[in-house]
């Protein structure tokens, strides 16, 4: 059973603080993703990584950075938190396509971190 864990369920930070959100998966998945989930907007991709030290921007990367030093861990960094970054943040992981003979890529999600920036 795939397990994706996130370091905090709830986080409260002040404007201008540096914020680290951690995500760990235990199924040796190559791909990892960070989304933010907002009512009426669905899930929007911030960044994703398809290998250690590799990263690509998603649809809304501004104000965020990521780090993937180990295969199982993918960190999201808010260099200087702002109130408009108050949101639910979801991490996900998936296998590489074709690894298991399949043509689809199911993503497995963590429980989410609700971040409030005051």
């Amino acid at each position: 059973d795939v397990k994706v864990t996130q370091s905090s369920r709830y986080l409260v930070k002040r404007t201008g603080e540096k914020v680290f959100l951690e995500c760990v998966q235990d199924m040796d998945h190559e791909n990892m993703f960070w989304y933010r989930q907002d009512p009426g907007l669905g899930l929007r991709l911030i960044y994703f990584s398809y290998d250690v030290k590799m990263k690509e921007k998603g649809d809304i990367p501004e104000g965020y950075s990521v780090s993937r030093e180990k295969k199982e861990r993918f960190s999201l960094i808010l260099e200087s938190a702002s109130t408009n970054q108050t949101s639910m943040y979801l991490c996900a992981s998936s296998q590489n396509l074709g690894t298991s003979g399949t043509s689809y890529n199911e993503q497995f999600f963590g429980p989410g971190t609700r971040l409030t920036v005051l």
Binding site: V4, N31, F33, Y35, G40, L41, G42, L43, R44, L45, F48, Y50, G58, L90, A92, S94, N96, L97, S103, Y104, N105, E106, Q107, F108, F109, G110, P111, G112
Partner: protein
């Protein structure tokens, strides 16, 4: 442009009534379509995918390429179906999923 549209933010039905959650997409090529579900206080999880042609928890979804739709249907809704439902697509050789804005399904007793 690649896009997934879920026109209803909230769908409220009575227990035992049929339910249809609408999903339309825009994609140049042959996408793969998915429905994800998030029950209260649980993590987002895959419900079903179009290539499997399966029925999960009584839900089915048919890909209509002519109408570019992938509506989720269930003939008799149950209270435990109340949840947030997201339609998503990916390209055949893409790691990424594009999600719709979601529809909250409320099944009333």
């Amino acid at each position: 442009a690649q896009r997934v549209t879920q026109p209803e933010k909230l769908l409220s039905v009575f227990k035992g009534a049929p339910v249809e959650l609408k999903c339309n997409y825009s994609y140049s090529g042959s996408p793969e379509l998915f429905w994800y579900v998030q029950y209260s206080r649980q993590r987002l999880q895959l419900l079903l995918r179009h290539i499997s042609r399966e029925s999960i928890k009584g839900f089915t979804a048919d890909l209509n390429k002519g109408e570019t739709s992938f509506h989720l249907k269930k003939p008799f809704a149950q209270e435990e179906d109340s949840a947030m439902y997201y339609c998503a697509l990916s390209g055949k050789s893409s790691y990424k999923l594009i999600f719709g804005s979601g529809t909250r399904l409320l099944v009333r007793p």
